[in-house]
Amino acid sequence: MRLNKHNLPLWKRFMDIVVASILITLLLPFFVIIILMIKLESKGPAIYYSNRVGQGFTVFKFYKFRSMYQNADQLISKFKNQYDNSPKNEAVFHIANNKNNTFLVGDEGFIKSDEHEYNLKQKNKISFFKIINDPRITKVGSFIRRTSIDELPQIFNVLIGDMSLVGNRPLPLYEADKLTVDNVIGRFLGPSGMTGLWQVNSRGEEDISADERKAYDLTYSRKFSFSLDLKILLKTFPAVLQKTNS
């Protein structure tokens, strides 16, 4: 196992190892209680992982306490399709007077090339989407998500060097793929982490736009430093409390 997989500055990797070790030692009894609560309410493992994209677009296993019923992952594409096809996402497409339009062959017959291009752009517009009042979430799940306790197993990700305590949020593949465009791709040049600039600068998760998040991520990638990390860490606790209360 490499101790510093992403060649982070030594101060950052050192801080990650020290803080993560202390937190794991202190929180171990609390972890046992949470694991029992999850196991008692619904079938399945207490900790699960999903593949997330971190620094340098490396894919790693991102640990969380399970907050959903076991078959939840299979439902995500169904929800996403519903979202993609909802009326607010529809737009009327006008083909300009383009007599030289090229036709492409697709699964559903012929399509004009500029129409196909437009469809692709529409598809790629959504890089973050959230489901409100998600029926997949268990009761314990709802509590641990509201309090951000579900994120605590990521301390192990920090310890083994997949990510840092402070950094840009690791993203699921389907979100990360859409951010590989000029300028925005810079978010993957900086460290990924459990908490970051946009988390401490938003009052609640829903009040920050995707563009604002991207801007915060880019700023962090460019400007991360020991003092900025310390500020973000200190602001994280009030931000979590505020989120819990709201």
């Binding site: 492409l104 090339s113 790629n124 791709i185 810079g186």
Partner: protein
Amino acid sequence: MEQKLIMIVEDCEMMRKFLKIYCEKLGKVITYESANEALQSLTVKNIPDLIVSDLNLPGINGKEFISQLRNKSISKKIPVIILTGEANVELKLDCLSLGAVDYLSKPFHPKELQLRLKRILGQFEPIL
């Protein structure tokens, strides 16, 4: 095995840095901000095994860059992959007609780019 040399021509600094880090898994990487700089760098001792180029470049654009590469004896056989924000099919056809070996639109999956580069560089493990 001899290390491959990959040239990246991209005007966006962030994209250039990202591609450099990602492509370093496959070989040595040199980057240029413009096609002009890239063309000037080509010498007998500095011939890349592969070029990844943007289309919208300052000065000489990507299409002109492919043409100029094809017209020089020193560079006419270097495979060129176009990586661009333009998803336009006609542009894609133009680039392939000019001699680009592949065309990828942004946003892209970096692993897909890596696999395409590997194939061109002959680094694929044979399946059979």
